[in-house]
Structure formats: structure tokens, C-alpha cells
Amino acid sequence: MAEPVKAVAADGREPILQVRGLVKHFPLTRGVLVKKQVGAVKAVDGVSFDLYRGETLGIVGESGCGKSTVAKLLMNLERATAGEVFYRGEDITKLSGRALKAVRRNIQMVFQDPYTSLNPRMTVGDIIGEPFEIHPEVAPKGDRRRKVQELLDVVGLNPEYLNRYPHQFSGGQRQRIGIARGLALNPEIIICDEPVSALDVSVQAQVINLMDRLQQEYDLSYLFIAHDLSIVRHISDRVGVMYLGRMAEIGTDAEIYDHPTHPYTQALLSAVPVPDPEAREGRDRIILTGDVPSPADPPSGCRFRTRCWKAEERCATETPELAVPVRFRDEASPAAHPSACHFAEVRDVVGAA
């Protein structure tokens, strides 16, 4: 199988996490006692990317594109059907037991829903202290209470709130508690699955600022999964766009937002309402037809071809690779970034360039 590629970014940073050909198929079964597989939901179907130390990689896409499944696979909450995830050169998808537990210290997660991600019957102190109970080597027993209070302070909550229960906090405060729990073991990577989409607009900015500050303070790498494109752009160094279980396009935030070459990215960006009434007239809006096909029965070839205005015969038969398109390969333009489209070309949809 594939070895961890010795990829080094242009500025010399090394990838901390390398994802290669990740696949997750959920079997569709029929029958009660004897289960027969009648198909599979191809939630994630061959996704590869690198996450560099200290960077934020944003993953955007619509519901059903597999972005949350990618998060679960990286966390080993689901077992990958195929593919590898290399962390420090080691494939963590095959780990179990003690080795997996050790890796978990370094990769943590912040969940979307601050209302269901905290156990309602535990105090905040117990919730944030639980990582220390599971990994007692991180903090000696007598030290834990102080550590928990420190963490509360770090995320901007009153350390005196230790003995309160989750339902005594607002959504934004709960998300801070979730972040404190994620930070407890001093991880290197935090996977954030829609961490602010359940929050009020005015509270979102508070949490985003907190995450930004923590990243600088602790040199964290974020995988930031969200559907809000403007928030992703604000916080991300690089952005990957997923569609129906595959990566359609990946690049720096400027490359993706200002020089998208994949038709889906262009449609997605043009569909996002811009909070500026002046932009209403000048915008190039692409209204797609139809819905996202079912991941249990995805189209052949390019996944996007059923809704794409550029689709030709070739798109149905030949799956486009996620690579820098040939026509841009020799240019030093921002269009020269990986895009899985046979007919990739730049189209400025947000009118930003």
C-alpha cells in the first residue's frame, strides 16, 4: 500500500497528518438474522490530503458530501473501509488498544452540537477532567482540579463554574467547555466538525476568535469542517471542497475563493448569499439544477457531472484525478492548484479578484 509521501510544503513545513485514498462505505443490508449486503452508501470514496503543522485546513461541502464521515474516520470513531491516515509516519487506521489510545492523546475533536456533546449528568469539572482520568499520566491526581480550572480560564469561562452542570450554560459557553475538553490532553491536532454552526451569529465570532487565539498559543493544527464558506475562509490557510464523497478541489484560501477552477466550487461560491446588497446586481450567479445524487448510487466518472453545465461524454466514462490541471501546470498562477475536473478553468464568481 501507499507509503507516507515525503511531502514538504513550499515553506518547508512538514505534514503532520497525511490522508491517502480514504474510503468509507456503509453497507446497506437486508434481512433480520442473516444479513445480506445489497449495496453500500459510499460516504467517503477516495479522499487524500495533507494537514501541515500549525495550519488550518478547511473542508467545505454540502450535507451528504462525506465531510463529517472524514472527521469520524480521522478520529477512529469509524473504521475506514480502505485507505490510510498517517500520523507521524504511522497508519492510525489499523491501530487498536493501547497504541490507539496513545494516538488519541494527540488528535482531539470539537463537536458540532454543544447541547448533545456534553454528558448532562456530569459536572463541568468532571467533563473537562475526564481526559485526565482516562490518561492519568498527563496530570497527577492532586493536580487535576487546578488543571481543569486553568482550562476553564483559557477558554474564557469563570474557573469557579467547576461544579455546575452543562444545562446551566448557554450554547456558546458549552462550546467553550467542549473546546476545553479537547485541549485537556494538549493535542497537536483538533478536528472541528461544524464547531460554530449551532451558535448564534453574534456568539460565533467569539468562538472563532477563541479558536484562533488557541491555535497560536498552542501551535495547533485544525481540520475545520463547516458549511459556512465565509467563516471557513476567515479561519483557514487552505481549503478543500468535497462533493459526494470525493475532494473536488483543494488549495490555499485565495486559490479556492478567488480562482476556483472546478465548476462545483464555482457554483457553491456563487450560491452563497453575500451580506452586501450592493453586490446583488454585479454577481455571476450559477443556479444548479437538480439535487445531489444519492451516495448509495453515485454517477459514474465525475461525481458532479449530473448537475454540471460543462459535462460531456468524457465526464461519464473517465474519473477526473485530483491534480493540478494540465493547462495550468506550467504557470505560476493561482489557478495552478489541484482540481478534479477535465475542463477546469478560472471563473471569478464572487467578483473579488
Binding site: S270, D276, V292
Partner: protein, 593 residues
């Protein structure tokens, strides 16, 4: 590093830690039914431990000479056929009932939790096998099974009765435990524990069990009463407890044959049994109310917290319906009420209802729950024409198909026979729009119509709405929290905060030059291109709890411009100019930056 200001509302600062168990206990103590049942049960438990507290007479001290005699001094309830003291036997009979009831419940709950819990937690084969075993036992009627087995094994001791009843009774508890564990297992906090590397026992004991326990406790308490009456029934039928054990069931059985001669023999044990069962059922009800009550009040509180800002928007729907139809129209965020204005308030409920159907239509956020899942889409659309215009079934269906075509549902004719769940989210929202359009209303109120949709689908739906609005010449009130959507489609905007309008303005002016600090804060907190890598502007603090709106201007605790005046005086909605109003004492300063 800029510091993060987290201002907990005053109520919260004062709040002590409140666990869910504590809340349930507090609710329980407020319930008089709990006290009545608790006193009764305590009394029962006491006399079953020390029956001699109430009577000096032995239940076995019988004198055939006093057979079936009525009350006598020292023997207030009279005598049985064997001449034993009915009062003493009734008192001593409590022991069998209480012991059997409690032991059976404990054993059945233990079996049920272990089997149901394992089936729910591990799923797969565990679930298949354990659930089938449970189903087999569940299929045996407890009473019939009890009669057959007990007459075969000729038991009669408390031990055999308890064992048999719990063996027959556990599947009921196992089913509840299984579903409780399955629902707890799917919660994010269990995933979070797994992500931390928690062991299986830890997840089960620390995260799943405490959260799955509440429903099991409720079922077990209610089952306790059932087991007591079951024991009495079995004893009555002569297959349960056997003499010399004193049991109400046995005494009722022997008294029943003599009901004409000596009704007092039946009255007392039967009465004691009824009261005992009633006490346990009352306790079960009280416990259930307390445990469910907590969930309810928590979700109610949460709902109110997100409401102020229509944050997630999910919970807004219910309030919006009431708000729109039962509050002054002036409170509707963004809108052009072109007719009737305030009349809606003084109008009779009947007139309002008529208005609602024909002149005003509504589109909800969650199309799936607004459509009837067991009726086809064509039927539901056609219903509008059948009811309001008296069309025939066939003509109504034709109209429905036409409407589906209007909202661009592909293959409308064949899809009219499909059920709502067979459509995608975007298509369902189109059906909702079709339904709203059916009677060609003058006004459509769309409450977060695209919040549940993906952006590319949202663009399709908003596009369609705008097109239809122009074509039918309708007013559109759009309730949303999405500043982008508003900028895209709105002509005028009303901004609400804590239940009041704080600013109204034409769309361009609002975005260019907001006249209320809250609007300004919202606009500033949107990530912008030229600010990448910088701190986002964040409105400090939290949206207010609607039960506890701050005095004066509701926004003052979060407002960077707040002065003393703002803390005491509620600002009026000042008119700034054509269509521009702001509820801020310092709107002039705000407009000027």
C-alpha cells in the same frame, strides 16, 4: 492578546450547581402526590418489618368458634372462616406483598438492565440473540405463565413466586433499557468519550448508564404495583403463595366464597391491596413526571436562550407562528404588510383564521414535519382546492400537478403520487411553496425557508421564491437570521432584539450605515476578506434570556456605547427619516460611526 469577555447573566452568577437528578428530586418534592404515596409506602414498609407495632394479636391465633364473626372488642375487623383475626391478618399480609413486590422489581430490573443494556450497547448479534430471547418471554402472558408454571412446580414459597415473576417480567424492563441505551449511545458525548480513548466499561458506567437510568426507574416503579397485584392474583387462584404464609390474595380468595355471609372478610384485605397498588402507581407517576419534567424544562430554557437572536432558527418556528398571527404586525421582522395592518389584532379569531388560509400563507423551515407523512403529495396539494374551492378529486389533482410544475418539480405528474419522505429537502420545500401558493395569497410568510437546505439548493429555492413573488405580485415576509440572504432579496429590513424591533431601514442603508449598535455589531462580526487573519469583531456577552430581559435598553449589557440612560430608560423607536427607525438613545452617534 485581546481578552475574551464572558459576561454571565446575573441570574446565572447566582445559580448554584444543579444536577439533573437534583432537579428531578426538587420537582418530586413539590408534587403532593409524591408525598401521599411516599407516606403510604413508608407506612407499608414499616408494618411489614414490624407488624407487631400495630397489632398484638398473632395472625395464626385462630379460634374456630368465632368463625366469620363480625367486629368485636380488640378485633375491629372481625374474624375469618377459620376464626382468625382479620385485622392481624391484614397487617401481617403487607409483608408478603411488599417483599414480593420489591424483590421481583429488583430482580426483574437487574435482569432487564443487563440483558437490555448489553443488547442495546453492543447491537449486532448480541442484540439479535438477546432481543429474541426477550421476545419469547415477552410473548408469554405473565398471569397465564405464572398459573401454568407454579401449578407444575407446586412452589408456593416467596422465593419461587419472586423468581417466576421476575423471569416473566424482565423483558418489559429490558425493552425500555435497550432503547434508552441505544439513544444514549448515539449522543455526541459518548463519541467524545470514545475519542478520548475511554474504555468500554467506562463509557457504559459513566456516560450511558446514568443517562439511560431515568426511563428504567420510571418503568420499574410502575411495575412494582403491578407485581404486587399479580402476586395477589396468583395467590387468589391458589397457585401463588400458600398458607401458612399470610397473603392478602389468599385471604381474599377464601373470603370471596363467603361474600354473602361475611363481606367484612373480603373488605379489609381487598382494601389494603388496592391502596398498596395505588400507592406504588402514584409513586411511579410522580417519579415519571419529575424525570420527564426536567427534560422539558431544560429544553424549554434552551429554546428561549436561542430565541433572542434566532440563532439556530430551529425553535423560532413555533414562536413565529404565534408572533406573526397574534402579535402586532409591527413586530414582524422585515415586511411589507400591505393590508389590514393592526386590524389583525382586533379581528375575531374566526376572521383571522379565514385570513390566514386564503390571504396569508406560511412556509416553514422544516418541510418534512409540516407535511403529512401518510398522504401523497398530490393529495395534500389537492386538498386545498377540494376544501376551499370545492373542486372534484380529479380536478383538484390536476391543479396540484399544475402547481408542482409551477415550482419546477421535475416529472410532476408521476411524482404527485409520491409521499413526502420520497422527496429531497429542496423538493419538499418546493412543495411547501406550492401549497402556500395554491390559493394565490396576497402575502407569504416564510419562516427560515432555506435554513435547513444546502447553499446550492438554497439558491434554487430563493430564486424560485423571487420569481413567483414577481409573477403573483405577492408580499413576502422573510424571517431569517442569515444576513447574506437578507442582503440578497430584501427591500426593507426590521432587526429584532429580545423580542422588540430595534431598527428598520431600506436594505442598502441598513448595510451601509446601521443606526443601532446591535445591527452594527452583527454586520461587523461577519468575516470579511480584508480582515483575514485578524480578530473578528465580536459582540460581547450573550443574547438575553427572554424570561429575564435587561432593564432599560435590552441591548445595554452588550453595547459598547451604553450610558447610564440606557440602563434605566427603554429607548423609543425614533424616526430617522424615510422608512428608517432606530430604538437607540444614541442613534445619531451610531449613524455617524
Amino acid at each position: 492578546m485581546p481578552e475574551i469577555t464572558e459576561q454571565a447573566p446575573a441570574t446565572e452568577a447566582a445559580a448554584a450547581p444543579r444536577s439533573l437528578w437534583g432537579d428531578a428530586w426538587r420537582d418530586l418534592r413539590r408534587n403532593p402526590i409524591f408525598y401521599i404515596s411516599a407516606v403510604l409506602i413508608l407506612f407499608l414498609v414499616l408494618i411489614s418489618i414490624w407488624p407487631s407495632l400495630l397489632t398484638g394479636t398473632s395472625p395464626y391465633a385462630c379460634d374456630l368458634g368465632r368463625s366469620q364473626q363480625g367486629p368485636a372488642p380488640g378485633h375491629p375487623f372481625g374474624f375469618t372462616t377459620q376464626g382468625c383475626d382479620v385485622y392481624a391478618r391484614t397487617v401481617y399480609g403487607a409483608r408478603a406483598s411488599v417483599v414480593v413486590g420489591i424483590c421481583t422489581t429488583l430482580l426483574a430490573a437487574l435482569l432487564g438492565c443487563v440483558f437490555g443494556g448489553l443488547a442495546g450497547f453492543f447491537g449486532g448479534w448480541w442484540d439479535a440473540v438477546l432481543s429474541r430471547i426477550g421476545d419469547i418471554f415477552f410473548g408469554i402472558p405473565v398471569l397465564l405463565g405464572g398459573i401454568v408454571f407454579l401449578s407444575v412446580i407446586k412452589g408456593g414459597s416467596i422465593f419461587t413466586v419472586v423468581l417466576l415473576m421476575s423471569v416473566l417480567g424482565w423483558p418489559q424492563i429490558a425493552r425500555i433499557a435497550r432503547s434508552a441505551v441505544i439513544s444514549a449511545k448515539q449522543q455526541d458525548y459518548v463519541q467524545a468519550a470514545r475519542a478520548l480513548g475511554a474504555s468500554t466499561p467506562r463509557m457504559l458506567l459513566r456516560h450511558i448508564a446514568p443517562n439511560a437510568l431515568a426511563p428504567v426507574i420510571v418503568v420499574a416503579t410502575i411495575a412494582l404495583g403491578t407485581y404486587i397485584s399479580l402476586e395477589a392474583t396468583l395467590s387468589f387462584l391458589g397457585v401463588g403463595l400458600k398458607p401458612p404464609t399470610v397473603s392478602w390474595g389468599i385471604d381474599i380468595s377464601s373470603a370471596a366464597t363467603q361474600i354473602r355471609n361475611a363481606p367484612h372478610m373480603l373488605l379489609w384485605p381487598a382494601g389494603a391491596l388496592s391502596i398498596t397498588v395505588l400507592a406504588f402507581i402514584m409513586l411511579g407517576d410522580a417519579v415519571r413526571d419529575a424525570l420527564n419534567g426536567v427534560n422539558y424544562s431544560v429544553s424549554a430554557g434552551e429554546t428561549l436562550a436561542v430565541l433572542g437572536e434566532s440563532g439556530s432558527g430551529k425553535s423560532v418556528t413555533a414562536q413565529a407562528i404565534m408572533g406573526i398571527l397574534d402579535m402586532p404586525p409591527a413586530k414582524i421582522p422585515r415586511g411589507e404588510i400591505r393590508f389590514r395592518g393592526e386590524d389583525m389584532l382586533t379581528m375575531s379569531a374566526d376572521a383571522r383564521r379565514r385570513l390566514r388560509g386564503a390571504k396569508i400563507a406560511m412556509i416553514f423551515q422544516d418541510a418534512l414535519s409540516s407535511l403529512n407523512p401518510v398522504l401523497t403529495v398530490g393529495y395534500q396539494l389537492g386538498e386545498m382546492f377540494r376544501v376551499h374551492q370545492g373542486l372534484s378529486k380529479k380536478a383538484a389533482l390536476a391543479k396540484a400537478v399544475e402547481l408542482m410544475d409551477r415550482v419546477k418539480i421535475p416529472a410532476a405528474r408521476s411524482r404527485a403520487g409520491d409521499f413526502p419522505h420520497q422527496f429531497s429537502g429542496g423538493m419538499r420545500q418546493r412543495i411547501m411553496i406550492a401549497m402556500a401558493l395554491a390559493l394565490e395569497p396576497d402575502l407569504i410568510i416564510a419562516d427560515e425557508p432555506t435554513t435547513a437546505l444546502d447553499v446550492t439548493v438554497q439558491a434554487q429555492v430563493m430564486d424560485l421564491l423571487a420569481e413567483l413573488q414577481a409573477e403573483y405580485h405577492m408580499g413576502l415576509i422573510l424571517i431569517t437570521h442569515d444576513l447574506g440572504v437578507v442582503a440578497d432579496v430584501a427591500d426593507k429590513i426590521a432587526v429584532m432584539y429580545a423580542g422588540r424591533i430595534v431598527e428598520t431601514a431600506p436594505v442598502h442603508e441598513l448595510y451601509k450605515n446601521p443606526a443601532h449598535p446591535y445591527t452594527r455589531g452583527l454586520l461587523d462580526s461577519i468575516p470579511r476578506l480584508d480582515q483575514k487573519g485578524q480578530e473578528l469583531y465580536a459582540i460581547k456577552g450573550l443574547p438575553p434570556n427572554l424570561l429575564n430581559i435587561p432593564q432599560g435598553c435590552a441591548f445595554h449589557p452588550r453595547c459598547p456605547k451604553a450610558q447610564d440612560l440606557c440602563r434605566t430608560d427603554t429607548p423609543a423607536l425614533h424616526t430617522l427619516g424615510e422608512g428608517r427607525r432606530s430604538a437607540c438613545h444614541f442613534w445619531k452617534e451610531t449613524v455617524n460611526g
